[in-house]
Each structure stands twice: as structure tokens, then as C-alpha cells.
Amino acid sequence: VGDKKKTYIVHMAKYQMPESFEHHLHWYDSSLRSVSDSAEMIYAYNNVVHGFSTRLTTEEAQRLEAQPGILAVVPEMRYELH
């Protein structure tokens, strides 16, 4: 179960982006690469969230959440029409 990938929304502290990165997307990608070689960004968000969505294992999500500059790694929720 732990190896099964799930979608997460990763919230980044954009204001903490290291100066070594020229663009925030490079920083997002680098953060993601630090926990997974295979994970891909589903979306990069610019306005309502600073961050991205991706599919990770539980362990990868936990490791990502411990990285500097990561505010939250929130599991995807399913919504329903009312």
C-alpha cells in the first residue's frame, strides 16, 4: 500500500526560493526530483496556490514535506456535485 502512488498538491513557500534558482518552476522541479526520479508535475499552479500537483508514494510525500521551502503536501480530495 505504501508504494502505491497518490496525487498530492504541494504548497511551496515561493518567497523562500533559493537565489540559485532563476525560475520558481525550476525550484519546484528540483524539490520534486529530490524525492522521486519518476514523478511528474500534473499541474504547476501560479495564482491560487504556489506549488504543483504530482503523484507520489506515501513515503515520497513524507520526505517532500520535510524539505525546506515546502509548506504542505496535501492529499488529493474528491469533490462531488451538489
Binding site: T7, I9, H11, A13, K14, Y15, Q16, I42, Y43, Y45, N46, N47, V48, V49, H50, S53, R55, L71, A72, V74, E76, M77, R78, Y79, E80, L81, H82
Partner: protein, 659 residues
């Protein structure tokens, strides 16, 4: 929609709203199942150029191209990457990988909010009239985020992200998820950023009523909308062989039942299944059902599917009875066979007749559309109820609006029942839910935005809330159909929306981004949690005393700690501070207080507020004192605070709860 413009007074007061110019500059983004662009509700006749503020696009895909947009439907996008990442590629033979609506829900909500005027609209002749959205000249942008397999938060956030970038003015979201803290809830997170940009986000409260604590979308920067009825009904009477008659409702149109009494059977007696009474797929025995009208109990599977199950088994009609879960609330459906829905009380009597009479018989008489039903509105049983389980000190829902038996535009991909076997195609459909009430408020908010372009989302919501009504013209309080008793602020929030009064509220309770950040500090959110929502480095001031009770909200939810029954030792005095902003003419407002709860003393300081100029702000403090020795047996109570200058009434509901 038909009828709701009249029910809300928009027809008689059309000249009050600046329909022609400023409202056509307002853009409503609808996040839903997409849009059916060929619907007459999206005809752009008479509309001027697309607002210059618009940055959006009309995306192409399956059966959808940029040419499907026009001066009414100015944008359409779809967001499926999150859905496909979880469930695999979309089966394009079953749903369109494009903004096209294969479900109907998105077309219904978008046309309710801002559909153009369409004459001679109806569903099979039911609810006939001139259909229009609440803001008939506002522009629509459709963001498809819901698919056959559900609505995924990664897609919803992506759509909100784009809608902000596209410059929508109102976001209408008739969807919700489970209960979670605001920083974990994607809709709340996205709505926070939208609010920062001056976008009003209107969301449905949910259909989990009448259970308490059943609300979705409870954050204070969202306008949360519950559902009430219109003064319209679709009666279809049940006439039994013992000469008793019962009221029901139906949207069935087709071959009528013979005029004679017909054999009648209880589904539970025509099934070998333990839940045969529910008319679930494959549970009815055709030999027992053939040629008969079948009595089914509501619950578990969709109402229209029960009719389809009866029809497939050879039944010729259906009487669908509510159980205790739904009480007397009647929701009309466009069944595939002659069928009607009856309330719990009628259902109980009919069920007794079925088991006591050796040869029960029945017929159903369809009466079409009836207007002027009273009382109306009543709070729908399904409409989700407070208290707010995330922040009990914040009263939700904010308001109720029409959400029962609403006619609006529909997709030609699907029949009105939504069933795969339904090959009927309609321009308009009649459905119910807080999904339907939400876009009513979205459209009304657009009207107010058009009239007052400089008002913040909080000011617009305040105008809608403080002018809402809680009583009928005869003075009786708005009923809750779930109980048949007067509804409470936990059911209706500030009351039923009154858009004509909302245009000129006199005073508003405004809120800034900082107010909401202070609210988050009062909730003791961690810096990471706050910064996830705020997207900036914000730190709560450790020297400052934050209180949820000081959020400048247009309603009051007062929580007394530990004094229920008079035995507690906790705080029995709660203070709330509010600031009113003058958006009308100079005047002196005086406060009046009413309370159904004798055990709480309410005092307001000062009792009079004088405003000499526009946008002038004045604050007041309300002290609620719970008398422990006379504490109530119930854990809740209600009251109301009103400020009036003789011309305007600025009302706020109060809900007390004891923990």
C-alpha cells in the same frame, strides 16, 4: 430559470438594476461539468464586445472548438489532468475531452447564474415561461472540472488558478467535499486567493440535510448557499381503490395511465431481495410486477432509476414514498414511466393499504404546473445545516436561495433523468439541490457587482445577507420542510435572499484580506498553514490578541463554553465586535435586539450609530451573557440584531450554542 426571477422580484424591479451596461462587464466563472454551448441560454444577441478585462480562452477538444464561444459564453476550459492521472485516459466515446457538458449539471448552473432570456422554455410543458439567468446580461466562462468519475482537487485548483488569471468577477462552484480544515480544502484555498483579487466565490452548502453539522464550504471568505423552495409545484395525485387521495409531485410526460383503477403492489412483496422495497436494479420479480403500479420506498439508489427498474420489470407505473430521512419534502422527477412521489405520511398510509387490502388498486392523476404555492419559500430538507463543524463561531450557511425544482438549460448529451437508458433530449431540465441555489446567488452577486463595481466580495455578501428575509409577509417565520416548524439560522443562515433590497443595503460589514489573516491567527493556525492559504510570509503578532468573534461577519454564532444546564463553570460572557460601513446616505441607525432565548442577555454598545459620509465606518460591541442559573435545556438558541435608519434594515442572525 423560469419563476425564480418573479419569485425574487427581479421582474417588477428590472429598472433598479443596471442590466444593459455595467452588468455586461461582469464575468461569472462556473466550475462544473462544462457547458452545452448550443443552448439558447448562451445566445449572445444584443450583447456588446467581450469585456476588455477578459484574458481567458475558448479551448478546443472533443466536439468543441473556439467557435462555440460567443459574446455570452466568452470562455470555456477543461481540466482533466488530475482526473486522468488517477483514473486513466478519458474514454472519449463516453465523455468529451473538452469543455462540452455531457452531464447537464454545468449547463444548468451556468444558465441559472447568467443565462440569456429564452421565451417559451419548459420541460415537457412543465414550468413553462420565459427563462433567464439571474444576471441575464453577465458573461459566462465555463471551467469543466467534474467528470463521470468525479471532481478532483488537482483539477479544481487548476481551474481556479486559471479563472483568477482570466479575470472572472464571480466564481460559482456547486460542489463540495468532506469536512476538513481550510488549509487542506482546495476549494477554500483557491477561494482565499480569489477573494484577495476581489472575486466573490459562491458555493453550495451541500445536500446532507437535515442532519446538523452537515455543511460543506464553510470558510468565511466563501459565500455558502443553502436551498429553499419556490412557490411552484407539479402535483400528481395518488388515488387509491379505497377512495383515499394523496398529494404527490411528478414531471412525467408521456402516455397516460388508463383512467381506471389499476393493480397496485408493494415492491417488497414483489421481490426476493431483503431490500426489495427500494426497487434496486434486478430486485423486482417481473411475474409479480407486470401490468401493475409498483410502490417503492425512497433511498439508496436514484429516484428516477427506481422508475426505470419498475419499467424494466414490466410495471406500468410507480408511487415513490419518502421515508423518515426525507419527511414531507417532495422532489419532482421526469420519470420514464407514469410515476409520482409522495411524502412520508402519505407513504405510510398507502403502505398500510397495500398490505391490508387483498386486491389493492390505484391510479395517478397528473395535474401539470401550479403556481402560488404557500408557504414559500420553505427550507429544503436536503439543504445542509449548521452548526459549522470547522469553526462553530462562524454561522453557516450564509443564505438560502431557490434550489428546489429549478428549470434551467440542459445538455443534449443526456436525457432529463440522467439515466443512460433515457433517450429523450430536452433544452431545459428541472432539478433540485444546493447546486441550483448557489448559481442563483452567483448571478445576484453579479448584478450587485454591476451596480457597485467597487464593492468587495465581503460587501456584496453582506448586502445579500443583511437584507435577506426570515419571515413571510404574514409575519410567520420561514418554515423548515424537514420538521414543518420554523427554520433557524442553522438552516437558513441570514434568511432568504432578497436581491431588490440587497442593491441598497444602507450599511455593509466589509472585510479585508488582513481581517481573514487575523481570523486564521485566531484559529491558532501554524505559520505554514497560514502561508499555504496566503501565499506570502505572514506571521501572527504574538503580542496581539486575536479573536474569532471579532471577524467582521454579517452574522453571529455565539459559543458558550460549559454552561449547558447551568452546571458549567466556563465563560458565560462572550463579546463580539463589528464595524459597519456606510454605503448609503447619511443617517442615524438605531439597534434593536430580539431573542428567543431568555437565558441570554444581549446588549449592544453603542445603541446608535450616526454616519455623515459615504464609506464612513463605525464600530459596535455586542455582549452576550448566558445566565447559568437559567441555562436552557437545549444546546442552541437564536436571536437577531437589526440596525435601522427608518429606510434600511440591516439585519444579522444570532445563533447560540452551548458546548
Amino acid at each position: 430559470t423560469t419563476r425564480s426571477p418573479q419569485f425574487l422580484g427581479l421582474d417588477k424591479n428590472a429598472n433598479l438594476y443596471p442590466e444593459s451596461n455595467s452588468v455586461s462587464e461582469v464575468i461569472i466563472g462556473v466550475l462544473d461539468t462544462g457547458v452545452w454551448p448550443e443552448s439558447k441560454s448562451f445566445d449572445d444577441t444584443g450583447l456588446g464586445p467581450v469585456p476588455s478585462s477578459w484574458k481567458g480562452e475558448c479551448e478546443s477538444g472533443t466536439n468543441f472548438s473556439a467557435s462555440n464561444c460567443n459574446r455570452k459564453l466568452i470562455g470555456a476550459r477543461f481540466f482533466s489532468k488530475g482526473y486522468e492521472a488517477t483514473l486513466g485516459p478519458i474514454d472519449e466515446s463516453k465523455e468529451s475531452r473538452s469543455p462540452r457538458d455531457d452531464d447537464g449539471h454545468g449547463t444548468h448552473t451556468a444558465s441559472t447564474a447568467a443565462g440569456s432570456v429564452v421565451e417559451n422554455a419548459s420541460l415537457f410543458g412543465y414550468a413553462s415561461g420565459t427563462a433567464r439567468g439571474m444576471a441575464a446580461r453577465a458573461r459566462v466562462a465555463a471551467y469543466k472540472v467534474c467528470w463521470a468519475g468525479g471532481c478532483f482537487s488537482s483539477d479544481i485548483v487548476a481551474a481556479m488558478d486559471k479563472a483568477v488569471e482570466d479575470n472572472v468577477n464571480v466564481m460559482s462552484m456547486s460542489l463540495g467535499g468532506g469536512v476538513s480544515d481550510y488549509y487542506k480544502d482546495s476549494v477554500a484555498t483557491g477561494a482565499f486567493a480569489a477573494m484577495e483579487k476581489g472575486i466573490l466565490v459562491s458555493c453550495s452548502a451541500g445536500n446532507a440535510g437535515p442532519s446538523p453539522f452537515s455543511l460543506s464550504n464553510t470558510s468565511p471568505w466563501i459565500t455558502t448557499v443553502g436551498a429553499g423552495t419556490l412557490d411552484r409545484d407539479f402535483p400528481a395525485y395518488v388515488s387509491l381503490g379505497d377512495a383515499k387521495n394523496f398529494s404527490g409531485v411528478s414531471l412525467y410526460r408521456g402516455k397516460s395511465l388508463p383512467g381506471t383503477l389499476l393493480p397496485f403492489i408493494y415492491a417488497a412483496n414483489a421481490s426476493n431481495s431483503g431490500n426489495g422495497n427500494l426497487c434496486m436494479t434486478g430486485t423486482l420479480i417481473p411475474e409479480k410486477v407486470a401490468g401493475k403500479v409498483v410502490f417503492c420506498d425512497r433511498g439508496v439508489n436514484p429516484r428516477v432509476q427506481k422508475g426505470a427498474v419498475v419499467k424494466a420489470a414490466g410495471g406500468i407505473g410507480m408511487v415513490l414514498a419518502n421515508t423518515a430521512a426525507n419527511g414531507e419534502e417532495l422532489v419532482a422527477d421526469s420519470h420514464l414511466l407514469p410515476a409520482t412521489a409522495v411524502g412520508q405520511k402519505s407513504g405510510d398510509i398507502i403502505r398500510k393499504y397495500l398490505v391490508s387490502d387483498p386486491k389493492p388498486t390505484v391510479t395517478i392523476l397528473f395535474e401539470g404546473t401550479k403556481l402560488g404555492i404557500e408557504p414559500s419559500p420553505v427550507v429544503a430538507a436536503f439543504s445542509s445545516r449548521g452548526p459549522n463543524s470547522i469553526t462553530p463561531q462562524l454561522l453557516k450557511p450564509d443564505i438560502i436561495a431557490p434550489g428546489v425544482n429549478i428549470l434551467a438549460g440542459w445538455s443534449k448529451s443526456v436525457g432529463p433523468s440522467g439515466l443512460a437508458i433515457d433517450d429523450r433530449r430536452v433544452d431545459f431540465n428541472i432539478i433540485s439541490g444546493t447546486s441550483m441555489s448557489c448559481p442563483h446567488v452567483s448571478g445576484l452577486a453579479a448584478l450587485i457587482k454591476g451596480a457597485h463595481p467597487d464593492w468587495s466580495p465581503a460587501a456584496i455578501r453582506s448586502a445579500l445577507m443583511t437584507t435577506a428575509y426570515t419571515a413571510y409577509k404574514n409575519g410567520q417565520k420561514i418554515q423548515d420542510i424537514a420538521t414543518g416548524k420554523p427554520s433557524t439560522p442553522f438552516d437558513h443562515g441570514a434568511g432568504h435572499v432578497d436581491p431588490v433590497s440587497a442593491l441598497n443595503p444602507g450599511l455593509v460589514y466589509d472585510l479585508t484580506v488582513d481581517d481573514y489573516l487575523n481570523f486564521l491567527c485566531a484559529l491558532n493556525y501554524t505559520p505554514s498553514q497560514i502561508n499555504s492559504l496566503a501565499r506570502k510570509d505572514f506571521t501572527c503578532d504574538s503580542k496581539k490578541k486575536y479573536s474569532v468573534n471579532d471577524l467582521n461577519y454579517p452574522s453571529f454564532a455565539v459559543v458558550f463554553d460549559g454552561v449547558l444546564g447551568g452546571g458549567g463553570s466556563g465563560s458565560s460572557v462572550v463579546k463580539h465586535t463589528r464595524t459597519l460601513t456606510n454605503v448609503g446616505s447619511p443617517g442615524t441607525y438605531k439597534v434593536s435586539i430580539s431573542s428567543e432565548t431568555k437565558s441570554v442577555k444581549i446588549s449592544v454598545e453603542p445603541e446608535s450609530l450616526s454616519f455623515t459620509g459615504a464609506n464612513e465606518k463605525k464600530s459596535y460591541t455586542v455582549t452576550f451573557t448566558s445566565n447559568g442559573s437559567a441555562a436552557p435545556s437545549s444546546a442552541e438558541g437564536f436571536g437577531r440584531i437589526e440596525w435601522s435608519d427608518g429606510k434600511h434594515v440591516v439585519g444579522s442572525p444570532i445563533a447560540f450554542s452551548w458546548t
